[in-house]
């Protein structure tokens, strides 16, 4: 397993948001994380990305502990994410947002830039080109120069995915990437997610759109009240009586 979540729990005051959750995600796998509102899905993503520290359990990437590390260290090790309530840098353009995402992959020191060395300009051109290619990949090539605050809801979500991919992550965490998107956009995102997995990255997908989850995921973990209710392939999860009772039965 690339990403291993083991008996992770987190309580806020008296509320146990996540209780002893365990699952693993392999390279090249799209792993769905579903459950009713308040099941602890977003909290789990926050725990993995280091924004929130677990009160129990361990999280490992390639056998290296992530729990307890600050977010920038987790990201540096190769885990990046998008946010349920889109959080782009509003004053920056779409392209600049993606370029910031590439920070992890850049090592260039400042002094060549101070001396106008051609190596600095070359590195910047390469990063810009890579960011532009990522925007094209999410279908936003013509919107590159637009201030991100002026982009539509669906466009902003796609810029966020491009920004997270710019870091060349081993694990991509997506928090409801298709919320508020049109049907056509959702299909494009589904294709993109499969493509990203084909590159050998692990994708952990939190999503309410069950059609998308069932269609795109290799494995699914179902959460309810902070606990893992079921874990398996889409077919197994769909047939699980506990899942049907707790989730699909009431929702679908």
């Amino acid at each position: 397993m690339l990403l291993e979540v083991d008996a992770v729990g987190r309580s806020f005051g008296g509320v146990q948001a996540v209780q002893s959750a365990s699952f693993g995600v392999a390279p090249g796998e799209v792993h769905g994380l579903i459950g009713p509102n308040g099941a602890g899905k977003t909290t789990l993503l926050n725990l993995i990305s280091g924004l929130v520290r677990p009160t129990q359990g361990t999280i490992q990437l390639r056998g290296r502990r992530l729990d307890g590390l600050p977010p920038h260290r987790v990201a540096a090790l190769g885990v990046t994410r998008t946010f349920q309530n889109i959080r782009l840098f509003p004053e920056l353009s779409a392209l600049e947002n993606v370029i910031v995402g590439a920070h992890r992959t850049r090592r260039a020191p400042l002094w060549p830039r101070l001396l106008f060395a051609p190596t600095a300009a070359r590195e910047e051109r390469a990063v810009r080109a890579r960011a532009a290619a990522l925007l094209e990949r999410v279908g936003l090539a013509e919107r590159a120069g637009e201030r991100s605050a002026n982009l539509s809801y669906g466009e902003q979500r796609r810029v966020e995915i491009a920004r997270a991919l710019a870091a060349d992550p081993a694990v991509l965490l997506l928090d409801e990437p298709t919320a508020g998107m049109s049907r056509g956009e959702v299909e494009a995102i589904a294709r993109l997610i499969r493509d990203v997995a084909r590159e050998g990255r692990a994708v952990l997908l939190v999503e309410h759109n069950l059609e998308l989850v069932m269609g795109v995921c290799d494995r699914i973990t179902v959460l309810d009240f902070g606990k893992v209710l079921a874990d398996g392939t889409p077919a197994e999860v769909r047939a699980d009586p506990a899942v049907i009772a707790a989730y699909l039965g009431s929702d679908a």
């Binding site: 924004l51 920070h103 400042l110 101070l114």
Partner: protein
Amino acid sequence: MIAALQELFLTWQSAIGFVGINGLLALSVYATLSCGQLSLANAGFMAIGAFASALLTQHTALPFAAVLAVAALLPAAVAVPLGLPVLRLRGVFLAIATIGFGEMVRLGFVNWDYTNGALGLVGIPQRTTLPVVYLLLVAAAFLFWRLRGSRHGQALEAIREDEAVARTLAIDSTRYKLAMFVLGAGLAGLAGALDAHLTFMVAPSGFGFGRVVEMLVYAVVGGITSFIGPVIGAAFLTLLPEVLRVLGELVGVEPGPLRQFLNGAILLAVILFLPHGLASLPRRLRRWRERRKGVALAA
């Protein structure tokens, strides 16, 4: 007549010197503002640079360049252990903690007999020349210019926009915030040394809360979307009272309350009508002209 002309030149010469020094001070506040941190410790750093340089000049034979280096490095070194804990604070809490540091430094000098307490040091040789001031200002501006658009400059912008998100993109925000805090401290120390060696004296009263507010006002009036704004703001606000004084003399108005009122009114007008500062004036004018052209075409 010649004596009067000479005096006029001397007044303006020092005003031009203060434009450069205040430009450095404005940039020192801009350093932390550029990554979204409102730090008001810079009057304290300026005091450290001013007193350290004055003591070195009075008690050693160090060349002025070495004195300036110490004046920049000493406050920068102080900024590291200070910044590590206080930069964890956000917004108004950071502002208050850093004001506290500034007052601590000021009161420290007030109570230090070695530097003559509240009187401070006098008779400091005049070593600051305009070329030195402007060389350093240009060097500082150059650094900010090259930083902009670099990987580090982009990281600073990201931290300013949303620090938590920047961190999830592998940006070590603590290190960046500390680096800019230290840079700001060094620039303020440098400006303090230049000021001490231009005015012949340093006194703790020159480094109070009012001083750091002045620096902040330079930056905000000039505009903090780029490094050019603070420099323009410092020049504008340093020269404005001088220009008003000369204009007042020309039309025969007594200096005094009217001039101060005008000074305040102009400041208020800039903040109200140019929220992105004086540096945004050319762009604003261009847009205004385009809109008028648009109206003319529509009519």
